[in-house]
Amino acid sequence: MKRSILIGGEAGRGVDRTAALIAEIFSDCGYFCFVYRDYGSFIKGGHNFSVVTISSEPVFSHEDEFDLIIALDNSALEKHVESLKPSGKVFLNSDEKQSAENVISVAADGFAADKKVGRSFGNNIFIGAVLGCFGLDWRRGFKAIGGRFSAGDAAVVKEALRLGHETWRGESFGFEPKSQKLKISTGNQAAAKACVEAGLDLCFAYPITPATGFVDALSQSGKVTVHQPEDEIAAVNQTLGAVFSGAMAATATSGEGAALMAESFSLAAMAEIPFVLYWASRLGPSTGVPTYSGQGDLKFALNIGHGEFPRVVVAPGDANESYSRTMEAFYFAYKYRLPVVILTDKNLAESYYNFEALPSLLRPGKFLVKPKAGYKSYAFTENGISPRLAPGQGPIVRATSYEHDECGLTVEDPETIEAMSEKRWRKAKFLEKEIAKLHPCRLYGKGKNLIVGWGSTKGAVIDALKRLPGYSFLQISYVAPFPAREVEKIISKAKRTILLENNSTGLLGRIIREETGIEIKEKLLKNNGRPFTAEEIAKRLQNRYA
């Protein structure tokens, strides 16, 4: 059982909220959901839409065709009616009876006017109608989402759901509530949850789509102090200052903001200050298409910051991984005193997935030591990790952008320069060993034809595998340090290898070639801001290799 709903309307009309509430209800009733959000740069007006996919099987991507269209205005209907399945229905925001048989009027605006509530409130009637259409009792729907509203509002929502449910008179899709309950989360929310659990004290961030949702989630947690400074440069430097003084801090941005942070990324490496950068890409170059997605920042994330130094770049593939990889990011940054990038993109950051916070094997923490006489901020150690002390406890603590000796004092002599650089790189060996235990890459399926990808494309590929017998999928999550041996082993066993990325040149392919010598010639690339769908992947592969 799998059904797909498109909700479309102007910005500011509650498209996103309505989609999320529907997904929340069906998840609460035990169905798997995925919500794709498509919106432009508007506050009011324009046309936004969300696609909710509801299934009895796990689902990680959206569909191209819809069983239901919820049109908050006529323009939504006009724009999407071509993608309506032949048996599909339309719920149109209207008081008038419709001539087309498959278009059902839902008087959402009328309801909102009657109740003297905001227009978006009328959207709850559509939710009621969806429940009717799917065969779920409206009371069950209310049980799932009622808690989201104040007592006064909840009464209005209740009535809207009931009225909406009555508008559906046909045969239902037969979705009975199940005993299991599922949760939903965006990639941003899942990463923020991990930050809270890791013990984050402070987040310094300048607003930018699509990272803002992450910062908002931190703020809403009530457990993290969020500060908005004057720009990304201040954000990153304040982060490093706060970590130096003993707090757990992070910053978040997108590619454009990361460009401004580049100098301080290198500072974090040289000063060996634990640094976690949550980096949610949008479509570049430059301003690009700010509310759409792309995987064009991969090489930038791998190379950001001048000079040479060890770093971690980890790319989660869904909301569960956003959570677990963020936990790992904090662990590695603080344990190894180095910069870590969590590289995600708009598709993962802002889509809703079913979510479960799986317990992490690693325990993130500040990795601070107790004060001791003779403390040296950059002491040489066997694994290159100098014990980290916060200032204020007696021993002098130093951090420096300049090359330095063990005490952190400035040096320019060749022996110390060499020794310090070697010390920083020594950490990398130990880091790689620990990362190797965390599935830095993972193989899905057993087919001899291998799709290779990373990040948010995972969902559509996993969904596509069901239609592609003979295919398997290699997801690479740690891009730095790169799991070269494992990747080489898996690719060399494949009959045919296809690189799949949301960018125009196949950046991961170039990294694989650099790290393993293997050149993947077959590429399935898409760089128009929109994610792959499972159907599209299946069709394009089947057409190519029919």
Binding site: N237, L267, P391, G392, A399, Y402
Partner: protein, 242 residues
């Protein structure tokens, strides 16, 4: 560490003043030595990082203020002092001066203002009495307009005034700016003019009289000292136990 400023550099005076003020405050139990953190820019001003036996952060060009702000927010129990040059504070990182003045983190910003980017061999900054005759940038009215709660200027010639102002700035609860005029013996050796043109207007809050600041004289003194909640207080950040 051996001092590597040019022989006779007035930075030595500023170093001496900072050391003596910190010692005095520590001896008087006004602050604890272990809580002092000095954040520096790079260049000649940055070298002070190596000459002080306190916690220190050698930052980036123009970024001493945000690093200091972050340190204070990470642990409000620390006494945070940024030491930077005019190139970093009034050029590369000017944005941070405006924002931190407004937001009022309890940090002290000491600017060694000699009109040149000295370590790169003397290129002029915005405070240089310039070759082309462009007007000189005056940070004092900007800091006042940005609502900094403590704004001052001294020179490296007047030891006693400099000492008392640096002390007052460190003890001030909130953002404090101490702009220190000095010549650069190698690239802007203008000491005689500085001495001649200096006019002390201490104690005069020129908030209501910006005209004053546009005069060709180098006015010194504390131009504003007012009390208002700090950024850390507003965000209810608490001291780390130690």
């Amino acid at each position: 560490m051996p001092i590597t400023w040019c022989p006779g550099c007035p930075n030595n005076v500023i170093l001496y003043v900072l050391k003596s003020v910190l010692k005095e405050l520590v001896d008087a139990k006004k602050i604890r030595k272990q809580d002092i953190v000095v954040v520096t820019d790079i260049g000649c001003a940055g070298k002070i990082y190596d000459y002080l036996e306190v916690n220190a952060f050698y930052g980036l060009h123009g970024r001493a203020i945000p690093i200091a702000t972050g340190i204070k927010m990470g642990n409000p129990g620390l006494t945070v002092i940024a030491v930077a040059g005019d190139g970093g504070t009034y050029g590369e990182g000017l944005n941070h001066l405006v924002s931190s003045s407004r937001l009022n983190p309890d940090i002290t910003v000491i600017v060694i203002n000699n009109g040149v980017l000295a370590l790169t061999k003397g290129q002029p900054t915005s405070t240089h009495p310039s070759i082309g005759g462009e007007p000189i940038f005056d940070p004092v009215p900007l800091a006042l307009a940005s609502q900094a709660s403590f704004v001052s200027r001294e020179t490296a010639f007047d030891l006693r005034d400099l000492q008392s102002t640096v002390k007052a700035a460190i003890m001030h609860k909130g953002f404090s700016l101490v702009d220190i005029f000095e010549p650069c013996l190698s690239y802007n050796n203008d000491g005689e003019r500085m001495k001649r043109d200096t006019e002390r207007v201490c104690g005069k809050d020129i908030q209501s009289d910006f005209e004053e600041s546009l005069r060709p004289k180098i006015r010194t003194g504390v131009f504003r000292k007012m009390s208002r909640p700090t950024l850390e207080q507003k965000l209810r950040l608490s001291k780390k136990k130690s």
